[in-house]
Amino acid sequence: MASITLDNVGKVYPGGTRAIGDVSLDIADGEFIVLVGPSGCGKSTLLRMVAGLESITEGEVRIGDRVVNEIEPADRDIAMVFQNYALYPHMSVRQNLEYGLKNRRTPKAEINRRVEEAAGILQLAPYLDRKPRALSGGQRQRVAMGRAIVREPAAFLFDEPLSNLDAKLRVAMRLEIKELQRRLSTTSLYVTHDQLEAMTLADRLVVLNMGKVEQIGTPLDVYRKPASAFVAGFIGSPAMNLVPARAVPRLPGSAHAGLLGFRPEDLVIEPDGPIAMKITAVEELGAQRLVHGEVGGEPMTVTMSPQAELSDMVHMSLPAQALHRFDEKSGRRLD
C-alpha cells in the first residue's frame, strides 16, 4: 500500500516531440484513479512512466516516499495488467502467477499460499494447470490480474485491460475489477479511452488531452462541472452539445461571446421553447430516443422519450442551471 505522487512530470522524446507536459497528481493510498482521454493523449505513456517502462524526462514520480525515476520496473513495487494480457504462452496459469514471485526468491510455501488465494479470489482454481491459449478472453484477463494480485504490490497499474473483451464481458469484468479493488484497497492507476468505464470505476478521474491534464476530480464533479469544453464533450454519453452562443440567441447567457454547453438529456421539450431544432436523424435506443438536428446551422442532439411524436421541427427550452459556458478560444470554463 502506498500513495503515488507525480510532480510536474513531463516527457519529451529524443526527437523533441512532447508527449506529456507538466502533470502533477497526488494519489492517496488505496485510491482508484482513472486516466481517461482520446487515443494519443498520452495516458498510456504516463502510466508507463509510473511503471518504469518509459523514462521520465522531467519532474519526479514518487511511490510511497521513494523517488522512483531511476528505479527498474521490477523494483518499484508495482504490478501491471496489459491490454493484451501479456501472459507467457508456454507457461501454465500457475507458472504465470508464480513467475514474478520466483524471480524474487519468495519462499515456496508463501508462493503457494498467494497463488491459491489469488486463484480463489478470481475463480481460477480449476484452470491452474491450463495453458493461456486454452482459456477464454475473460479468463485470460483474470490470470493477468492474478499475476498482479500475487505480487501484493504497492500499486496496480492497468493499461486498458478491458479493450480486448466483448461488450458484455467488459461490463462484467468492470464490476469485478471494482469489487476487487475495494476488497484489496490497493492504490490503482487505470488507463482507458472509454468514458463510461472511467466514470464507473474511478474514485477520481484524470482527463487528459494532448499530453496535458484537462481536469482532475470525482466522476460526478467532472460530469456536472466540466472544466473545459474538451472535458464537456468527452465525458458523458451522449456527448454534451457545444454550440457558439450566437447560434442560440434566445438562451440565457447567450449575450456573451463564447461556447455554450448543455447535455442532451437536460433539454426540455416545450412547444414554444426558445430553441427550435430542425430534425435530421433519429436513433432509437429503446428506453430513449436520440434526436439529432441543427439549430442556427450548428449540430445538436436531444434525448426524447420514445413515445413522443416526431415532426420536422422540435421546440425546446433549457433550465438555466443546466447551462455551461466556456471561453471560445481557450475552451476553459467561465464562472
Binding site: 527498474e72 520496473p73 521490477a74 501479456a86 501472459l87 513467475y99
Partner: protein, 282 residues
C-alpha cells in the same frame, strides 16, 4: 478450389506419380545395387529387384569398409559425419540465437554496423572464402580435427535473420511483463524467449543438420587423416578406384547408409518442423 472434374484429378495424380518415380527410381536402384555382388552390375543387365547379399554387403561396409580406397569403415565415417553435422547445427543455432537476441533487444553502440557485418557474410558462402578459411584453420592447427571440420561452418547469417524475425514478432508487452516480473535480460532469454522459439529451433535444426551432413568440399580439404573422413566425402573416395572397377555394390550400400540419418532427423522432427514453419501465434 472446389472444382470436381475426374479428368483433372487423374491428370494431377499422373503428374505427381511421374514426379515421385523420377525422384525415387535412383534411390531404388542404389538400394537394389547394394544387395547384389559386384559382378551382377557389370554383367550388362541392371537388376531391378533386391538380391540376396544385403546383410553381407552392409555388415562388411560398416565393419571394414573398402580397404583399397583408403577409407575407414563406414561406421567410423558416419560417426564423423554425425559429430560434424550436430556440431554445426547446434553451434549455428546457439550462436545465431544469441546474436539475434543482442540485435533485437539491446541498444548498443555500432549496433547497425554489427547488423550489417552479419548481413554481408550472407554473400560469402564457404566456397567463396574457402582458401583463406583453409589458411586460417591450418594456421590454428585444426586440420584433421572435429573442430576444424565444424567451426568454420558455424557462423550463420541466415539463422541469425530467422531468429531476428522470430523475436520481432514477440509482443513488446511480453518483454515488459517480464521486466516487471523481475526477470533480467538473460533470465528473460532463458525463461521466455528460448521456450517460445522452440519450434523455430527445431525447424532450423533439421535444415542445418542436413546442411552439415551433406558438406562435401570442406571435409575433403581439411581431412587427410582417414579417421576423420566424413561419409559424403568418403563415398567419392570409394568411387575413385585407382586400379580396377569401382565396387558399385559397396559404394551404393554406403550411399544408402549415408541417407539414413538425415531421413531419420526429418521424420523424427517432422511435427515440430512443420509447426516451426507455419506457427504464428505467440
Amino acid at each position: 478450389m472446389i472444382e470436381n472434374r475426374p479428368g483433372l484429378n487423374a491428370l494431377a495424380h499422373l503428374v505427381l506419380i511421374i514426379g515421385v518415380v523420377v525422384v525415387a527410381l535412383p534411390v531404388w536402384v542404389a538400394f537394389v545395387a547394394s544387395t547384389h555382388t559386384a559382378t551382377d552390375f557389370m554383367s550388362g543387365t541392371v537388376p531391378m529387384w533386391p538380391g540376396p547379399h544385403l546383410v553381407e554387403n552392409y555388415s562388411r561396409m560398416l565393419d571394414a569398409g573398402v580397404s583399397t580406397s583408403g577409407t575407414p569403415p563406414v561406421a567410423r565415417m558416419m560417426f564423423n559425419s554425425l559429430v560434424m553435422a550436430l556440431a554445426i547445427a547446434i553451434g549455428k543455432i546457439a550462436i545465431s540465437i544469441l546474436s539475434a537476441f543482442a540485435i533485437v533487444y539491446f541498444r548498443f553502440p555500432l549496433r547497425g554496423l554489427a547488423f550489417w557485418c552479419i548481413f554481408v557474410t550472407l554473400m560469402l558462402p564457404v566456397e567463396v572464402r574457402i582458401v583463406p578459411t583453409f589458411q586460417v584453420v591450418a594456421g590454428l592447427g585444426l586440420l584433421n580435427s572435429y573442430a576444424g571440420l565444424s567451426i568454420p561452418l558455424i557462423a550463420s547469417a541466415t539463422a541469425t535473420f530467422l531468429f531476428r524475425q522470430v523475436f520481432l514478432t514477440m509482443p513488446d508487452e511480453l518483454v515488459e511483463a517480464a521486466r516487471i516480473d523481475g526477470a533480467g535480460p538473460m533470465k528473460f532469454f532463458r525463461d521466455i524467449l528460448l521456450p517460445l522459439s522452440r519450434t523455430n529451433m527445431a525447424a532450423l535444426f533439421v535444415i542445418l543438420f542436413i546442411y552439415g551432413w551433406n558438406q562435401y568440399l570442406w571435409p575433403l580439404l581439411v581431412t587427410t587423416d582417414s579417421s576423420y573422413y566424413t561419409i559424403v566425402a568418403g563415398i567419392k573416395r570409394m568411387a575413385d578406384a585407382v586400379d580396377g572397377l569401382p565396387q558399385w555394390h559397396l559404394v551404393m550400400a554406403t550411399a544408402v547408409l549415408a541417407m539414413i540419418p538425415p531421413v531419420a532427423v526429418v521424420i523424427g522432427m517432422q511435427r515440430l518442423f512443420v509447426k516451426g514453419l507455419v506457427e504464428t501465434e505467440k
